[in-house]
Symmetry: C2
Subunit: 324 residues, 2 copies
């Protein structure tokens, strides 16, 4: 059985050793850069851990796991252009360090490098695995579309928000677990349970991430705090605040969202104060915890060795900042 | 045996009927738009025609052929952003009609819709076929990188230019033919011959396309004439002109390329006049014809029915504007 840090090392090694037959060095440099500035490797580690739930041999899952991480980083490179984000994981984003055109193109090639990773280790279940991956990829793009649409929308419902983060974040976490499970030889019941475990965990994780944007430690977080507030992102805290605010507070919130010329720092401060006043943080935590608990009850139903499931549970807990 | 127009109809039908499980209408709208504004469907038609060289049953090649066309259009959507091109096939480009973010994201999803097309008809040769496709996709990105790099370079060699268009244009034409041939059941010798036929044809086609930018009928061409000249694209005519120009003419050419503030129309006029003076057009035609002839000698070696090869030859000739 592999533990979390062993699996992360395997993933990191696969990413560093990424064989690159790309002739244009300039094309590959940003790829190497974005893959080198860290990240938790959550998705590939989960894929390998899911594989390891059912099999001691995880080799066949390593390249698909690397492919998932490369795909994930491709979406980050392009999302950062769309969000006009200068910093990611405390480093300049690709389009800031190079330019937008380079970030588009190096992002693009990552989508095909990801395909190539899947092609490098074609297990007997290749078609099944690649379908799960590709469906998740389409969902991630759809989630990003809804995220952009909702930035411009005056109001977004609770359900719309959840469907958006389900596609943008949870779909790939869920797919990673299912892919690992299939390669490990699980039956459909268990791979579906792991998919749903990942979906719920991904939802909890994204809601947590939305909270970090507001109340997180920006040094640890590696992004500028309040970016979502500045961009009028319809995160759960904002949706909840709109639900709860009344009279003068509601007006103030509406004004902040409508303002065209504003001092970003002041906007972040004012909106955060409204959230605090309405106890939005506590209410958001309740929602995240609900998904978190649901995830764990699903994991418990998976037919696999308890010790291995415990390792998965510990990893999941650490993600949500609830060390077990 | 299917003829050219029957195959184009099959491709058009597959693209119109593209089953779309994408929830966000805004994401898919630009996809439908770019696929609807025409194009010759050269690559998918060639894939189907290559399949039809070896088999009367071309059904299994239809979705992969559609996938190739969708991938090709994905590269056009992103290239148009990078080239800042307002018009494509006489219609506004996606980023002009919507915006850059929408063009990035709708482009991205097309890469996964293309994967999905390949997954929809998984022949026994799926892995082989998908590898050919994915390698071509990486080459196309690499070619675009070199194209961008060369715009900024002072000088580009004849060989560098050829390698660039080989990757940017010829690789996908070649891959389309090989994919069709494999699905049709050809042996390796014939599918490799068709790949090389496509590579040479693609080179001739791109050199021809570079000439159209300068001497083409912009109404027929569907783009603004002289775009390559304005952008200092290192096309073969420019490389040849640098080789041939001397004294005052060379100086004038260098000045045109170095100028930062210039009237685009005047620049196009001056550079075109230099080309005409140096008989660059005739020399470029000689190069294109060389690849064209080489392509045909390769096609003749393919072991397939002569009448079917004749249909392929006629299509290839029409591409290069040499109706047979």
């Amino acid at each position: 059985m592999y533990n979390h840090s062993e699996l992360k090392e395997i993933v990191d090694k696969a990413l560093v050793n990424l064989s690159c037959s790309i002739e244009a060095e300039k094309l590959f440099e940003p790829v190497r850069y974005i893959l080198s500035v860290g990240g938790k490797r959550l998705r590939p580690v989960m894929a390998l851990m899911a594989c390891n739930l059912f099999s001691d041999k995880i080799d066949d899952a390593v390249m698909p796991a690397a492919g998932i991480e490369i795909f994930h980083n491709f979406t980050l490179v392009h999302d950062d252009i769309m969000d006009n984000a200068p910093v990611r994981r405390s480093f300049p984003t690709v389009h800031s360090k190079w330019d937008v055109n380079q970030a588009i193109l190096s992002g693009d090639v990552m989508a095909f490098i990801a395909n190539d990773c899947f092609l490098q280790a074609p297990s007997p279940s290749f078609l099944k695995v690649f379908r799960v991956f590709n469906n998740a990829a389409v969902e991630v793009c759809t989630g990003q579309q809804l995220d952009m649409d909702y930035e411009k929308a005056a109001i977004v419902s609770h359900d719309e928000y959840l469907r958006m983060i389900e596609m943008k974040t949870a779909a790939l976490v869920a797919a990673s677990l299912k892919i690992g499970a299939i390669i490990g030889g699980s039956d459909d019941r268990d791979s579906d349970l792991l998919y749903d475990f990942g979906r719920n965990l991904g939802l909890a994780f994204q809601i947590q991430d939305d909270m970090l944007d507001i109340w997180g430690n920006s040094a640890l977080f590696g992004k500028t705090r309040g970016g979502d507030i500045v961009a009028n992102k319809k995160t759960f805290p904002l949706i909840k605040a709109f639900e709860l605010a009344e009279g003068e507070t509601l007006k103030q919130l509406q004004n902040e969202l409508a303002a065209r010329d504003f001092d970003p720092e002041r906007k972040v401060k004012t909106v955060t104060e409204i959230y605090n006043q309405l106890k939005v943080r506590e209410k958001t935590e309740i929602l995240a915890n609900g998904y978190y608990d649901q995830a764990f009850s699903l994991l418990r139903k998976v037919s696999a060795d308890e010790k291995r499931k415990q390792e998965m549970e510990t990893l999941a807990a650490s993600l949500i900042g609830r060390e077990k």
